[in-house]
């Protein structure tokens, strides 16, 4: 199993550009999450999904959009990139509810907006 994979690993965007961060998991997990981690800080939840077709906002959703058409994939869309979105983005998945199950994290995407 590859676990949770993310692409790209690094990206530099200009202000106002858009991009999609890809996330895929091969563990047949129902729950998937997107977090951002600013330097020296903890992880903040952007969006999460409890299954295909169902998504919900986390703590910091502004400036982002998600969709989940399959169990395996959970892409994160950045529209009109801003310097405040410079961060490391982690995708994670769990078998079921966050309260009961461990989360498996992807390797992260390091994004710089200039």
């Amino acid at each position: 199993n590859a676990g949770v994979t993310q692409t790209p690993k690094f990206r530099i965007l200009k202000i106002g550009q858009s991009m999609t961060l890809q996330c895929a998991q091969d563990m047949n997990h129902n729950y998937m999450y997107w977090y951002r981690q600013d330097p020296g800080m903890g992880l903040k939840l952007i969006y999460y999904s409890v299954g295909a077709g169902i998504t919900d906002k986390g703590e910091v959703p502004n400036g982002y959009n998600v969709s989940r058409s399959t169990t395996e994939d959970f892409p994160l869309r950045l529209e009109l990139a801003a310097p405040s979105q410079t961060s490391v983005y982690f995708c994670a998945s769990s078998y079921s509810r966050a309260g009961d199950y461990e989360q498996y994290f992807g390797p992260g995407t390091r994004l710089t907006v200039t």
Partner: protein
Amino acid sequence: QQPVQSPQAVILREGEDAVINCSSSKALYSVHWYRQKHGEAPVFLMILLKGGEQKGHDKISASFNEKKQQSSLYLTASQLSYSGTYFCGTVKLNFGNEKLTFGTGTRLTIIP
């Protein structure tokens, strides 16, 4: 309402013990612990559930005081591989148990 971790940083010599604390102002369903090495993704260590159930690492122990909404992670006889930043994550009671809120982390450095 992010959980508060203490200390923010600690330096130990190999073989020494450490305790990392996590405190929340909200009633909790569970507390999770993760370790993150520099430049890497967080890795799961433990879950402590309301009611006393624990799941996770067999060489690391932790406690969860449900009345005080506090958890502590105990690292005994520390090894160089224990270095990294430790995050607690909390899941609030009665909110669907679907979202984990992470603390700001405790940086642990082990020196030979």
